[in-house]
């Protein structure tokens, strides 16, 4: 198998979080926290640093969010997945699925330990 460059874990989780919805910072943080069952907490620098790079890489695009609750000028930036992002995610998911498949063939069931 050729060594395809893999996605960083936090990039993968962010793409997964916004795969079906546009979210703002807190939304992504909560979604990732939820989908990793509390295993991965994206702190602000990590989150926005990653988002900025992912926008530059064309995986994610910024969207103008709905106006905030008050009259104040605080629109949140929302993030959505791009076509490239979706394809990259799909490639990564396929890669992971392959590993799961191999593991299954070797009779390693989730949650058990072979002694």
């Amino acid at each position: 198998m050729t060594a395809t460059p893999t996605l960083k874990p936090q990039w993968f989780q962010i793409l997964l979080a916004i795969a079906d919805q546009e979210l703002h910072g807190l939304g992504i943080m909560k979604e990732v926290l939820g989908q990793t069952e509390g295993q991965m907490r994206l702190w602000p620098a990590m989150l926005y640093g990653s988002l900025k790079k992912m926008v530059e890489a064309g995986l994610v695009e910024e969207k103008e969010g709905p106006p905030g609750p008050g009259a104040e000028n605080d629109r949140r930036r929302f993030y959505g997945i791009t076509k490239v992002g979706r394809d990259t995610l799909a490639v990564e998911v396929a890669r992971l699925t392959r590993y799961v498949q191999v593991a299954k063939e070797k009779d390693i069931a989730a949650g058990t330990v072979n002694s």
Partner: protein, 886 residues
Amino acid sequence: MKYIVYRCVYRGLLRLLPEELRRSHASEMERLFAETLEIESARRSSLGRMYVLGGAVLDIVGWALSERRDSRSTSRAERGKAGDLRGVRQDVAYSIRSLLRSPGFSAIAVLTLALGFGGSIAIFSVVDFVLLRPLPFPEPEKLYTVWETNLERGRRQSLVAPPTFVDWREMAESFSEMSMLSQGTATLTGGASPEQVSAISASPNIFALLGVPMHVGGAFPPEAESPGSDHWVVLSFGCWQNWFGGDPAAVGQSLVLADGPHTVVGVLPNDFRFPEMPELWLPQTFAPEQLTEGMRGARYLHVIARLRSDVSVDRARAEMATIARTLGENHANNAGWGVSLVALRENMVVEYRRSLTLLLLATVLVLVIACANVVNLVLARSSDRRRERAVQLALGATGGRICKQSLAQHVMLALAGGLVGTLCAIWAIPVLVQLAPAEIPRVGDATVDARVLVVCLTTSVLVGVVLSLVSLWSSVGSDPCLAIRSSQVGETPTRHRTRRLLIVTEVGLSLLLLIGAGLLFRSFVKLQQIDPGFTTSGVITISLSLPGSRYGTDAQRASFFRGFQERLTGRRGIQSVSATTNVPLSGSAMSFGFSIDGRPEATDNEQAAAEYHVITPGYFRTMGIDLKSGRALSWDDDANGAAVVMVNQTFADRYWPNDDPIGKRITVVSRGGPTSREIVGVVSDVRHAGLAALPKVEVYVPFAQDPWAFARLVLRTTDEAGAVMAVRAELAGLDNSLPIGAVVSIEQMMLRWLAPLRFQMVLVGLFAATALLLATLGIYGVVSYVVSLRTNEIGLRMALGADTGRVFGSVINQGIVLALAGSVLGVVAALATTKYIAGLLFEVSPTDPVVFSGASVLVLVIALVGSALPARRAVKVDPVEALREV
């Protein structure tokens, strides 16, 4: 806006990020930080906020490092990670060298920080163990204390009467277990001489309820639940070690107590902690004669319960309210009484929460003041170091490198301060625990453990980051060329303004602490001036309890105490002797219902209960309590005589405001049910429950007419040791198998009662003094610095014939202006905040003018001293020397 301080710190941290990312995303990052803060602090309160702040620091530092690594690996991939690590090592080594180069600065900074950290860590560890940690039981949040409550009569949390408890246990379905506890003593008679030990009588299911597994053996067997089958005992770990040498075979053996042998069923684990730590646990059930209607007024049981896992506390509250209503409809003594459920932990610490929070805030203020002082030092030093930095920049050091060095240096400084502070705290905690009132639950466990260390470490790092930011910020905008060229090392006006602002804040915060300490002190003095209604000096008390096996009848108990008292009367060193069931300030009290004969309406509405004391003749003389009218009790008031009672002044004033109570009759409930008694005398009020508590309605019943199995001997003596010897000798002569209980003087009880107040007063006073010292040092530093800058000018003025007094005055003014501004700030802050400690004050207003003005004057005087020293140096400047330096 909430969490303003946290957000400011975070905003400062954001400056460590690359400019580009900061410009585009800083506001959103800050918002996300604030939102996380909100979520976590709702979940875990202050610890949650610490967690978020710590996480955010690591996040930013981690991100900044990974950015650097990325950029390096792309440009200089060949160098790899070793260079990065070498860089960090270099920075740390450089910072240590640089700190060692100026040992004076480093030592003062580290010691100042240690002073702030030491106090904070010590108090935090106590607060952590007492207030923040969950109780050491499985699912501690399911444990509740259940109180009877009657708001109309001002009884928010009342103990519970046995019949009411039995009804609750039968009717309530919201709890998996419910138990009662009552504290007492037991007498060990198996040994050479009888010994009195502390014991808790509890429902047999108590250990199942708490979820405590036994170290050896098991909990009480199920048959202990049936009345009369109570000959079992569970030992504390210490007791097992002492009496059985830690032998597991102790289980199944017999322990002979006064009422017969008890079989040891289990030993509690060594780390078992409950607010009360008795040596023995005895099972208790109630016989039908203890569950009479009259006993519904006898509220003396603690009740705790474990909520069923599928029931919410609201549902349990609703169910208990319904049960209370049903009981109220069926039993006169339950009418008007409700039920209150309070989390067990909350209940254990509620008395100390305010006091400990106050102390924690006080230490945090000291830490803030210490940090302000160190920031001041850093500012003064950074102006000296501007040239060094300029040289570095000129030689090609990058801004980033200098930032890292500064960060390393200040974090090292703060960590050193934290380390020394931790050592101080480790030393101080045992002292603190000694000083603390022993009643505070779990206070003895307090120690610097991993959890406390993590908080300390995080705080140290944060302080270091803040110091570094201040230092960097103060050097921003310094032009290397200018800095190198300038021969005079001076300060920019902005920086000097910052330093002055810091001093003003320091003075303000110290004054705030000083005012707090002053208020507590004044309140303490006021309390000590209160007349408790009895004499405190020269009176000792000795507890005695009579075993039911040999003193089963009223007559036996009455005759024992009468005989004993008669034997002791007139012995050397004993001026007078008597006995009572409840000594003032001892914490023991009994309360029973009563009604006034012929006037049912007087007490009907409020279901009156009176504090109930059983006394032997001579009690009022011994205690120095004044007889107001009528007669005192005598040995003739016995079972054969007319039933009589004495009441206190409050009782007389409330029910016979315009009439003489002597000769009137009241019906008082006791063990034997209600008895109608004639009032024969009125005595003055006694502050039974402590100096701050107003007297309640109280009745005194002759011992011979209601002889309880336990009492405290009260002796007025001129020779304490002699009196105790006499008591021992006479007791041995009367019944040599009875043990003599604890000997406690009324004076000791008073001291014990005052201990928590003294504790908080002494500590807040200590912190205020430390704060004041630090603020004075700050003023001294700033004024000295101004003097050093103005040496030339002062020399010139002196050479031109300026008056010494005016020079002195102009320097001193520098300090006084700062102190005045600080005092105004402090007074305003105190006016806004002292209302939160009003609950800790006694007869002192939180804005007491005496304290406010006294503290302000003290601060000003000390500021004067702090600036007089450098001023003296200023006028001693030799004009010739000063002018030569220009």
